[in-house]
Structures are given as C-alpha cells and as structure tokens.
C-alpha cells in the first residue's frame, strides 16, 4: 500500500513537472505573440486558446499532487474541541467525500469527451483544434486524480483500523509550519552581495 502510494506520488510529481514546464513555455509563447503583434504586426494565432488548454492540463494534473501533499484546503479549526477518535473519523470522511467528488468529475469528464467525439467537435477559432486532443489529455488528468483520491481513501480506511495514530499525520490538514516551510530558503539570503 505504502509502496503504491509512493509510486503514485512519484508519477504525480513527474506529471506536475511537465505541467510546470508547460506554464513556462506558455509564458514564452505569449511573450513572442505580444512582441510580434505590437511591434511587427504578426501574431501567433490563438495563444489564448492554447492557454486555456494548458490551464486544463495544469489544473487536472496538479490536483493529484496537491491531494497527496494535503494542499486542498479544509477548515480544521474546530477539531481541537473534538475527541481524537472523532477527528480521525472526520479525516477519513473528508477523504471519502473527496474520492467521491473526484470520481464524479472523472466520470463526467469522460462523458464530455464522448460527446466531443460523437459531435466531431473542432473549435471554430483560427486554430481549428480538434477538441478531443486537449480534452483527452484533460480526461487522463482527471482519471489520474480520481484514482489517486480513491487510493488515498482506501489507505486512510486501512489506517483507521490498523494504525489510527498515523491518520492525522497522513490525512489531517498540513500544519502551518509545513505551509510556511516552502517559503523559507536557508541560504537564499544571498550569497553574493
């Protein structure tokens, strides 16, 4: 179980890196487009459309990694008043609800792709993109997210019966320290001044 989860996290991180690179490439495309349009009167058509596809790609791929890193926000402030057993159950409940939501989304994303294929949709824009291409990538991202969420839920349920002490650490909201740590860079305090 642990091993599978670790593998999934590696895959999620790798996919996220590809998505991150896509953001940077989009930034470059947009810059070229603006310079071309404003100074040379030539435009790469449809960077807005490509941008939309990149967002769908980044968003759907980012959801899984965010889930594994407990980055989807929850409000846990009232948990301090609950007994530990209730807290653990609520952590698991949140995972179950998330898995349900993720599966619902993947199912409907799949349905949308089916509709696109049935209609043979091609965007009526200068790019004339066959819509199944970007939607196909998106559906893969949503299915990956759903699988990740289900796997995490099964894991949380298993922990509930085998190792309850681990639940809060693995499926509670991240501590503020964890949130902050990503902005603290020892040594960034410049080396060359």
């Amino acid at each position: 179980m642990e091993a599978i989860l670790r593998t999934v996290e590696h895959i999620a991180a790798a996919l996220a890196l590809v998505a991150g690179a896509a953001i940077a490439v989009l930034g470059a495309l947009i810059t070229i487009d603006i310079v071309g349009r404003d100074f040379f009167g030539a435009s790469i058509q449809g960077t807005d459309e490509i941008g939309g596809y990149v967002l769908a790609f980044v968003g759907s791929l980012g959801m899984a990694l965010t889930l594994l890193r407990r980055g989807h926000p929850r409000i846990e402030i009232f948990f301090r008043f609950f007994p530990q057993v209730l807290r653990d159950c609520l952590h698991v409940l949140a995972q179950i609800a998330m898995a349900g939501f993720a599966t619902f989304m993947a199912w409907h994303a799949w349905g949308e792709l089916q509709t696109t294929l049935r209609f043979g949709s091609i965007t009526n824009t200068p790019l004339q993109t066959p819509l199944w291409v970007p939607q196909g990538v998106w559906v893969i991202g949503m299915i990956f997210f759903a699988l990740t969420a289900c796997l995490a839920t099964v894991h949380a349920l298993v922990l509930l019966f085998t190792d309850r002490a681990a639940i809060e650490r693995r499926y509670g909201a991240p501590t503020v320290e964890e949130e902050v740590s990503q902005y603290v860079h020892p040594g960034a305090d410049d080396a060359r001044d």
Partner: protein, 426 residues
C-alpha cells in the same frame, strides 16, 4: 421554485460541511449537487462535464499559474531579502523605525505576488531575525507582518481579483487598476498607525539604529529594481494596451526568468520548486473553482440571487446602512471561513444585492478583497495569523492577534472610504 428559507438551509449545510472538516471544494460541490437534485433533478447534473471543461479551459484563469510562477521565481531568486534591506535604510528614520519596513516591503512584494500567504511567509522570514536584535515590541512586529501581507491580494497582481473577474465577467485589467489606489492608501494608513502609536508609546519601536551612509543606501536602491521592473512591465503592458492581464502574466514569467538569470540566482532546483508550487496552487484553486462555478450555475438556475435581492430590497434601507450590514456579515463569516471560500461562496448571492444599491461590479470586487484581507487576520480562522506565528517561532498566536488589532481599523477605514466615495476606484 425555492424560497429564501431553502437558500438559508443550503447555506447552513455548507457551513456544517465545512465545520466537520470536508475539503472546501467537496463541501461546495455537495451543496450544489444536493440543490440541483432536490429542486430540479437529473437534468441539472448532466451538464456538469461541460461546465467543468468551461471552468478549466478559461483564458482569464490562465493568469493564475502564470502569476504564481512569476512570484515564485522571484522569491526563490532571493529578491525579497535584498528588497527588504534596501527599504530598511529608508524607513528606519521614521517614528516606529523598522516596523515601517515590514509595511513598505509588503507593499512592494505585493506588486509581484498575488497571494498574501506568500507575502506573510516571505516578509516574516526576513523580518523576525532582524527585529530580534533590536528589542521591538513583538506584537507590533507580528501585527505589521500579518497585516502588511494582506496587501498581496489588493495590490495587483491578485489571485483573488482574477477569480472574482472570471466568476462575475468583470474586466480583470480594470479590477487590477482599481486595486492600486486603495492598496497604496491602506499601506499609508498602516504606516500612519505605526507612526502615531510609536510617538504615543516609544517603547514599541525599540532603540534607534544607526543609519547607513548615503552612498550605501543609494547603491542598495538597485535591489528594488527587479520588483519595480516587474510591476511596471505587468501593469504597464495592461494599462498601455500591449497586453491583456493573462498575457501580461506571461510576460511577467519571462521577465522573472530574465531578472533571476541576470542576478545569477536562476537554477534548476529553484525553477523546479517554483514550477511545482505553481502547479499545486493551480490544482488547489481550480478544484475549488469547479465546485464554485457549478454552485453558481445551480443557484442561478434556481433563481436564488434574484430571490435574495428581492428579499433584501423589501427592507428599504439606505445603501450605506446596507454596506455596513454587509461588512458585519463578512466580518462574522471571515472569522470562521477561509478567505477564498468566503469570497467564492458569497459572490453569486451578494453581487445582485450590491448592484441594487448602485455600486458596480468593480467596486464590489475591491470591497470583497478588503473583506478577505480582514478574514485573513481575524481569529480563529485567519491564515496570515498562523503563518506569521509560525515564522515567528516563539510564544503563541495571541501576540499576533493582539498585534493585528490596530491594523483591522485601518482596513475598516479604507472600506468606509470606498463606500462613501466609490468614485475613487476609477
């Protein structure tokens, strides 16, 4: 058709789901789908896939990953530390000394980052070690960091304003432009508050410090060039018509890469972390937005916004009274809700009411962001409080809460200002 009572039940359900710790996105989704199913049936569930694609494939929202990546590259490129020191030289002589640096640095940092958590964490990390040596009152140091950081979502770029613009079909460029003046006024108000307090009670500011000699101060000013270049490039290209906000964000990413390359802080590891952070922030935001757009859709089809504004209009109160009521409502919600969740969940219902009062959607966007700023620094749920406390690393969060109190009044003063003189937002 459903009545105002049903809408209230729905809102209560949302609060309940949030309080038992469901993820914000899931809670919004459950409320939306329950409403759709109970009041209309299966027909309202079928378009979910179409709506989801529409949310994800939205060019306005593309600005989010781009701006986050831009900010992350700059922060990880060490821009903050240099900027902080450069500003410290100039703010030290003011009454309140280094406390002003926190506000000034937050203001400048806000112009390259769209998130207040990033601002609080980054400024706090640099600020606290500096203050430890000087014997400042901890509450004021913490308060100025936590409150100054709220400027991150008011001064453009702002993730909250991008989301608001996408939900309400309001021009993001216009929202950004409208955010600058109240942002600067709020920053000045924070500084005025510090100056007055430290004149009344000099103890809060610790002992005066030597001021760096002129040439050195001038030389360090060059450390303010990167944020300045970014801000001018981003806002300038939006304002002068070279680019839409999303395009400006793309240019910002390239500029951030170029600047960090110039300062020789651009590296593979740092870039990798910046990209991962942009991707997870986007995933987190879009998951909430998918649920939020669907909730907005269901509420709209059920006619809830119209019902609520009809209900409100029966009271026949003066617009300013109504704004006051809204402020109280948002302050209450803001105590217990995450700022972003509060904003997203209330837009569809409150915007028609505000329009009825004669305010436009740009005004409401700025108003909402000011309410989010309050929510970020009011206990018990107030992200900036905890981030600041965590960076502070000693004592308890009570000190931070005490510290932000004076600054809460500044935010309320700016809210009053835009309510009475809505014209200043244009």
């Amino acid at each position: 058709m459903l009545g105002i009572e049903d809408a209230a039940v729905g809102f209560a359900l949302l609060l309940f789901l949030l309080f038992i710790g469901l993820h914000i996105a899931t809670a919004l989704f459950i409320v939306a789908i329950t409403g759709a199913y109970v009041f209309i049936g299966d027909a309202m569930i079928r378009p979910f896939g179409t709506m989801m694609w529409g949310t994800l494939n939205n060019f306005l929202l593309v600005a989010i990953p781009l701006f986050v990546l831009m900010g992350e590259i700059l922060v990880r490129g060490g821009v903050t530390e240099r900027m902080y020191r450069a500003l410290a030289d100039w703010t030290k002589p003011l009454p309140g000394g280094l406390l002003h640096t926190n506000i000034a640095a937050s203001t400048v940092f806000a112009s390259i980052s769209g998130s207040s958590v990033a601002t609080a964490a980054t400024i706090g990390t640099v600020a606290f070690p500096t203050f430890r040596r000087q014997n400042y009152a901890e509450a004021w140091v913490a308060g100025s960091v936590a409150s100054g950081a709220t400027l991150g979502i008011l001064i453009p770029p702002s993730i909250n304003l991008i989301i608001y613009g996408a939900i309400t079909n309001t021009s993001i460029g216009a929202l950004f432009t409208a955010g600058i003046l109240p942002g600067v006024i709020l920053a000045l108000c924070f500084m005025l508050m510090i100056a007055v307090a430290s004149l009344l009670n000099p103890a809060i500011a610790g002992r005066p410090e030597p001021i760096a000699p002129w040439p050195e101060r001038r030389k360090r000013l060059t450390d303010l060039v990167p944020p300045l270049v970014i801000f001018i490039l981003v806002m300038g290209s939006i304002y002068l018509g070279f680019a839409t906000p999303t395009e400006a964000a793309g240019v910002g990413v390239m500029a951030a890469l170029a600047l960090t390359a110039f300062y020789r802080t651009l590296g593979w590891l740092m870039l990798r972390e910046a990209m991962m952070s942009a991707v997870t922030t986007t995933g987190m935001t879009l998951l909430i937005l998918i649920a939020a757009f669907y909730l907005n859709f269901v509420l709209g089809v059920l006619g809830v916004p119209a019902q609520v504004s009809a209900f409100v209009s029966t009271f026949d109160v003066a617009p300013l009274t109504m704004v006051l009521l809204l402020v109280v409502l948002y302050m209450l919600l803001g105590c217990f809700l995450d700022a972003l969740a509060m904003m997203i969940a209330t837009i569809p219902i409150v915007l028609p009411v505000v329009t009825l009062l004669g305010y436009d959607s740009i005004w409401f966007g700025i108003f909402l962001v000011l309410m989010c700023e309050l929510a970020l620094i009011t206990p018990p749920v107030g992200m900036n409080l905890y981030v600041t406390q965590s960076v502070r690393g000693r004592g308890n969060v009570g000190t931070v809460i005490a510290g932000v109190l004076p600054f809460v009044f500044c935010i309320l003063a700016v809210v009053a200002m835009i309510a009475i003189f809505p014209g200043i937002l244009i």
